[in-house]
């Protein structure tokens, strides 16, 4: 059953159609979850006993950092699927992830710097967490640069897939950097074994923002992948039917 689903989703016309239908089902919940998270985080959550209202940066910094890692895992997994099964849809999904991941890695770094200045007294420190996150940004940029430097799309897919798969080793390094080494960055407060260390009034808005950003990413990825698929499958017969359906629907 799972294999039937896998193969059907791997068919470009099926993916294009289903992705178009699914997008609003992720976009609207994303907007509502983020709205709830923003009200909870900016208005309802009490100030932190140490960081005061400065801690409210967490409601954009943590979701951006979460996306920077999750998008990379999705990109590397899709690239691996594309490489192993030679699946156009998987390569299109991987290629669509890169710009999203790079932009949210940049947001995670920038918001982290703005949070670091009042709390640590510096915008930047060559700390394990910050340095490995910066390396992640370079991996995304390297992936995009490699794709752009190769004209043949098949070769670009294969070469960039290898880079994405090798680079995935950086993801656990980023996550565990704060526990493996001495770091200025605080230890995980949500994604850890046992109970989270935040009170519910602070934690619930953060969970809403994390869920909202995840749903937003799925909607965005579906949207980008459809465009990427149209660009790649320019000579395919299914495009005429898909465009006719778009025009009427």
């Amino acid at each position: 059953m799972a294999w039937v689903w896998f193969h059907r989703f791997g068919s470009p016309p099926h993916f294009y159609r289903v992705a178009g239908r699914l997008t609003p089902w992720f976009a609207w919940p994303a907007a509502l979850l983020c709205l709830g998270g923003l009200i909870g985080g900016l208005v309802l959550a009490p100030p932190d006993y140490q960081q005061g209202d400065g801690f409210r940066i967490i409601y954009v910094h943590a979701p951006a950092a979460w996306l920077s890692l999750m998008v990379y895992v999705v990109m590397a997994s899709s690239a691996a699927v594309g490489l192993i099964w030679r699946m156009t849809v998987a390569h299109a999904v991987a290629a669509s992830c890169a710009a999203i991941g790079a932009s949210f890695t940049a947001v995670a770094l920038a918001t982290g710097m703005l949070w670091g200045r009042p709390m640590w007294g510096t915008y930047w420190e060559w700390d394990p967490r910050l340095t490995s996150e910066l390396l992640l940004l370079f991996l995304y940029l390297g992936y995009m640069g490699l794709r752009n430097s190769i004209d043949d799309i098949g070769r670009a897919d294969r070469a960039s897939a290898v880079l994405a798969i090798v680079g995935v080793v950086n993801v656990p390094i980023i996550h565990y950097s704060v526990t493996w080494w001495n770091s200025l960055h605080q230890a995980p407060s949500v994604m850890k074994f046992g109970r989270p260390t935040m009170p519910a009034a602070m934690l619930v808005p953060l969970l809403l923002m994390l869920a909202g950003f995840t749903a937003y990413f799925v909607a965005l990825l579906l949207l980008r992948s459809r465009g990427e698929l149209l660009r790649r499958e320019r000579n395919a017969r299914w495009i005429a039917e898909a465009l006719a359906a778009t025009a009427t629907g």
Binding site: P47, G54, H61, A110, L220, R224, G227, L230, R234, L243
Partner: protein, 54 residues
């Protein structure tokens, strides 16, 4: 309201984070929609030229 905007003295750090994140969220949506529309327009042009040629 002014107290809320002041963010306990951290306004110059908190609000730029929110503005930057909102801008990147919005820009990503704009880029994705523009890319899809451009790909659809290009595909329509190709189909029209193929139809005209045949």
């Amino acid at each position: 309201m002014l107290r809320f905007l002041a963010m306990g003295g951290y306004a110059r750090y908190v609000w730029p984070c929110y503005v930057l994140t909102a801008a990147v969220v919005g820009l990503n949506v704009h880029w994705a929609r523009s890319a899809l529309r451009a790909a659809q327009a290009e595909a329509r042009r190709r189909l029209a030229s193929l139809k005209a040629a045949s």
